[in-house]
């Protein structure tokens, strides 16, 4: 076990893949000489050169579009989007090109590529730098969507994503880059598996990315007030969903809460709840609860910003209120 920061785990994953395979390249705004906006590619340019750490212009459509072409040409590109909101300019490439070339060509084209995707409410970055797009990305057939909420997963899943022959969007949360965690370098981590962060028997709380930490912060108070135990699941793979792990947990607890940072309308948690309602209706003892971001652009002011997304306090309050009417 080695302790490292989330961004260091990502850096190490990229470094090892670049060392092992000369076809791995990384491109994006400021990924080379500058070392990456969140320092994820720090130090790599001096090891691998500007030919493999490619500083691009501010042109997201081309960052992802060029990566698609590089993959067609035989490279294994890692495209970095500086922050999720900027990716909207690249959505034509993600949806119309990256996700479809393999299928439209009947498997003749293979796109071994990763789009690294920092997102989420960081701290007072306001409406155009704070959003989350896992709900849109997961609605696109033909791409894998991973969300790293954990340092160990960040290291292993990013490595697997780079080695994978399918296109992957690798979502990172901007507040996690300086999070410390233990990495077991020799562990065998399946990037498609959800992680049981904490075991429990009365309530399943499903989350991902930074909200997992907020749920974990909320759980002692929930357990204290209700006298019941919570099972916390970090989904990790958002598409496909590890329904096996979810099913086993929900069948055990009979109750489901989903906590997500994105806007509630059309948010990713709706998919989890609708799947549970369709597949596990009779295993549920209560109507599921979704705790999500408000349907509002993310405001700048800190008080308003925190009011727009779930926090540990709100998670406690909403689960207690819901639990009171649902036998918890």
């Amino acid at each position: 076990m080695i302790e490292m920061l989330y961004r260091e785990a990502l850096n190490r994953a990229i470094d090892e893949c670049m060392a092992a395979d000369p076809n791995v390249v990384m491109l994006g705004e400021d990924v080379g000489l500058y070392g990456g906006s969140y320092r994820v590619s720090e130090g790599l340019v001096s090891k691998y050169g500007e030919k493999r750490l490619i500083d691009t212009p501010i042109a997201e459509l081309s960052i992802v579009g060029n990566a698609v072409g590089m993959a067609i040409g035989g490279l294994r590109p890692i495209a970095e989007i500086m922050t999720a909101n900027f990716s909207l300019l690249a959505f034509d490439q993600i949806i119309n090109h990256m996700s479809k070339y393999r299928y439209m060509s009947a498997g003749k084209i293979t796109l071994p590529m990763v789009v690294r995707f920092p997102q989420g409410v960081s701290k007072q970055l306001a409406a155009q730098h704070s959003e989350s797009y896992e709900q849109m990305l997961s609605a696109v057939p033909g791409i894998r969507v991973f969300a790293a909420g954990d340092v160990n997963y960040a290291y292993h899943a990013l490595k697997k994503a780079i080695l994978m022959d399918d296109p992957v969007v690798f979502i990172e949360h901007e507040l996690l880059y300086n999070k410390k965690g233990e990495v077991d370098l020799d562990a065998e981590v399946d990037p498609f598996k959800a992680r049981i962060v904490k075991e429990g028997k009365d309530l399943t709380i499903v989350s991902y990315l930074k909200m997992v930490d907020d749920v974990i912060a909320a759980v002692p108070e929930i357990e204290k007030q209700t006298g019941k135990s919570c099972e916390v699941i970090d989904l990790q793979s958002l598409n496909p969903i590890d329904t096996e792990t979810l099913k086993a947990s929900i069948e055990k607890t009979g109750r489901l809460v989903v906590v997500e940072e994105d806007h509630k309308m059309g948010g990713y948690g709706a998919q989890v709840v609708s799947w549970a309602a369709e597949s596990l209706f009779y295993a549920l003892d209560a109507a599921p609860l979704r705790i999500a971001g408000e349907n509002v652009p993310i405001p700048y002011n800190r008080k308003l910003e925190l009011a727009s997304i779930p926090t540990p306090d709100k998670i406690v309050a909403k689960i207690i209120e819901w639990g009171a009417n649902n036998g918890l």
Partner: protein, 321 residues
Amino acid sequence: MDKLTAEEIYYTMVLGRKFEYAAKEHYMTGEISGFLHLDIGQEALSVAAMKAFDHGDVFTTYREHIMAIARGIEPKAVMAELFGKKTGVSEGRGGSMHLFDPTHFFYGGDAIVGGHLPNAVGCAYARKFQESEHGVMAVFGDGATNGGAFFESLNISSAWKLPILFLCENNRYAIGTEITRVAPFLEQAKKAEPYMPTMEVDGNDAVAVYEAVKEAQAYIQKSHGPIFIEAFTYRWEGHSMSDPGTYRSPEEMEIWKRRDPIARMQALLKERYGMSEAQIEALDQKAQAAVDEAVEYASKSPEPVVAELFEHVFVEEVAHD
């Protein structure tokens, strides 16, 4: 251009036109569906560019049946794809607009106007990275030159000196909108001038297109960076089968039909290469036979089965997909 090449180009142009008329006929019967964009009138450009560009990768648009055939993909595999059959070049998943074959370095078949240009640029990066002799040719229409992807691609390929040929097929109309109504000039090469050398060519003159593309290919192979060719041409049919093309005057159509690229190539074969009427007639018949065979093959081929619906989404299957 030697006689053999001239003959080959003429034959493929005739094959292409007959192929397109056959596709039109079978669209009318309902055997071909969806969007069908015909290339009739533009055969010189489509065929000569593909024949000339023999050291590289091609990225093109949805009006690509003739280009695919000129690139070496079997006409029957293209026709079967139009018919939506399992034996089609994309196994019935792509249709008319999405023909791909990496064995011929042919990467579509893209139906987002201008959207394939960043892909072509990325592939050119890979070729430079690999110190390959291959360059990339990106083919697009005048309509693509007004979008952001186009300008980003000019900028990046020029900044990084990438081996890419931008071949603009200027047929004057983006569906029903004449280019000069939405751009400040007719010649779209002007947009590329700050970034790279540009050439203009008569797109209905197969020899001129062939020579320009050969010259451009040699230029990008020497790592001078990107180059731009604008070829002026005209489609005789509507944008797609659902477009009657009423926005163009009969007079204008007539002018362009008098510039028929096939008639011009045929005259050249006779005058410069001394081919007889009978020899040309034999090539025409050979082309007709190839098209008939393609239609026969396509109509008799099996459709994909529903059980294959999920095939080719991913390389790696996952248990809970």
